[in-house]
Symmetry: C2
């Protein structure tokens, strides 16, 4: 949750007036998004989210993210649509921050998805990947294999202070992934952060996907691996193979996986678990106590990593023989 930047009254009024959306009737800072300050803005024309991008989101990447949302929304992916101001701009500045006004999506994020909801997320990710194929821009993944060793180095000795033995375990995992990381798999635009926080449901169906600020070009199957971590474990760290099966089968209903992608899934899942273990460990030690963000427990991802290490093949994720 986060509202880092406050906007002065007059500045907000002038900002809203620069769009063709009527007068402001309400503006509430909302506890959503870790990287931005977000406001739920209501005007005579409707509801919007006003996002102010804080330092963790690089300004140079914002045109990619905003153009991606426009590209996806035009292809019937339910995601926020950046609103154009009277001069046609989507990327603006407010309170000294890059800012954008995007449309509001109905729906509720769930903490624990049902089987049906897991399937709906799989379908949504499949459609997202297909719709992204024609997206002309490209952005490298800044949190992929080659970035993990430097991130680990930045955590340094503090890893063992978080969880005793963590440093050694990460070191071994990095060595394994370095020699086993797949290549040649189908690439495309991935969401890269499709956690339950970033998916809205109405009933059992995905009603919207938000928060594209980690989106990048990478192996599509890596996005699936992130979702296996984010959606298919219970709060006691047990793997729910029924949810995984529902998720994967629904995804394959939209975009079937190749043999190579299936074979790479356990390694990609280990990589995805390590990526979140590393960023959470880094944030655990570096979060200012005054910050308005809840720290997330690195231990959760260590347990997930250990699970994937024991996985023998994609069949352990609930898929039948392909």
């Amino acid at each position: 949750m986060a509202v880092y930047t406050e906007v002065a009254d007059e500045e907000l009024d002038a900002f809203i007036a620069s769009y063709d959306i009527g007068a402001l009737t309400s503006c509430k800072g909302i506890a959503e998004g870790v990287e931005n300050s977000n406001y739920l803005v209501q005007t005579q024309a409707g509801r919007y989210i006003l996002s102010l991008y804080e330092k963790r989101v690089a300004r140079k990447d914002l045109p990619y993210f905003l153009a991606l949302m426009e590209h996806l929304a035009a292809r019937d992916i339910s995601c926020p649509l950046p609103v154009h101001d009277r001069e046609g701009r989507t990327l603006r500045e407010l309170a000294g921050r890059p800012a954008a006004l995007i449309t509001f999506l109905d729906g509720v994020s769930v903490r624990r998805a049902s089987i049906e909801q897991s399937a709906s997320v799989g379908r949504a990710l499949g459609h997202f990947h297909v719709a992204g194929e024609s997206f002309p821009r490209s952005r490298a993944n800044s949190l992929s294999l080659s970035d993990w060793a430097p991130l680990f180095a930045a955590i340094g000795d503090r890893a063992d202070a978080i969880i005793p033995g963590l440093a050694g375990e990460i070191r071994k995992e990095l060595a394994y992934l370095d020699k086993s990381w797949p290549s040649g798999l189908p690439q495309g635009v991935i969401h890269a952060d499709l956690f339950p926080d970033n998916v809205f449901f109405l009933g059992q169906d995905v009603s919207g996907v938000i928060d594209f600020y980690f989106a990048c070009n990478d192996m599509l199957a890596y996005d699936i691996a992130i979702c296996l971590n984010a959606w298919c474990f219970e709060s006691d760290a047990s793997f729910n193979v029924t949810k995984a099966r529902a998720f994967l089968q629904a995804y394959e209903g939209v975009r079937p996986l190749s043999v190579d992608e299936l074979a790479a899934l356990p390694t990609l899942a280990r990589g995805a678990a390590l990526r979140f273990l590393l960023t959470r460990s880094y944030d655990w030690r570096n979060t200012d106590g005054e910050a308005l963000v809840k720290r997330k427990d690195p231990n959760e991802y260590l347990r997930k990593l250990r699970f994937h290490r024991k996985v023998k093949s994609y069949r352990d994720y609930g898929l039948g023989e392909h």
Copy 2:
């Protein structure tokens, strides 16, 4: 800002279903209210605020607050109206906390009110005091004169660590207020926390008043004294006598002040400044660094207190001879 308590998905669904307001379409934790966790809830029937009351709000006081909102709303005061569930209850329980669903009010709170807005707040407070006359319940002010010395004692030596010399200055002020605090002035329901955060505007007019969780029975003029502190100083701590005049004249347009109330105003304003100086000083030293609340600077109220100490009569607040 605050969202302290998270609500499980199923619990929220069941809670919403216990009201006759249709299905949930959106729920966002909002950065509003320091004492509660607040969610902006949208259902097929409309928009609501779901408040979960944290430990600073005494459970035994909630029926007073909720009944007050109903009483005021029935008298055309624009304030949130507690929604009755299918069994007729307004006070409920959710996620282990007392909880209430109240109607959503349009409007935007301002950081720096205009002259017209200051007048509109004065009128709104006047109407609030008049509408409260017929409210049958009573609740003592738990942050009045007799509570300040114990609060000061709880801050203890740490006062001087916040601002050097603060302890001595508070001690002297308490001694003055103890012998000078007025009695016999008109009593009634006061809001007791009518800060800019708690007032919404549409344009220049007050569109709503929220956050009744300090409301109590006390001298009506003390509520005015709180507003002089909360609305009539600029950010450099200078007193804006034009705003004070606009506020007081508009208030008197609804409920004229007696000679005794006018005479007591400077003392009441000192008391109000001391009350917020004390609670801010207490919070300054006691706020957990992990808490999702921005600490408010005690120094602001020390400067306001010093201003009121130099005030010779109510005329210094911009009112002409009565």
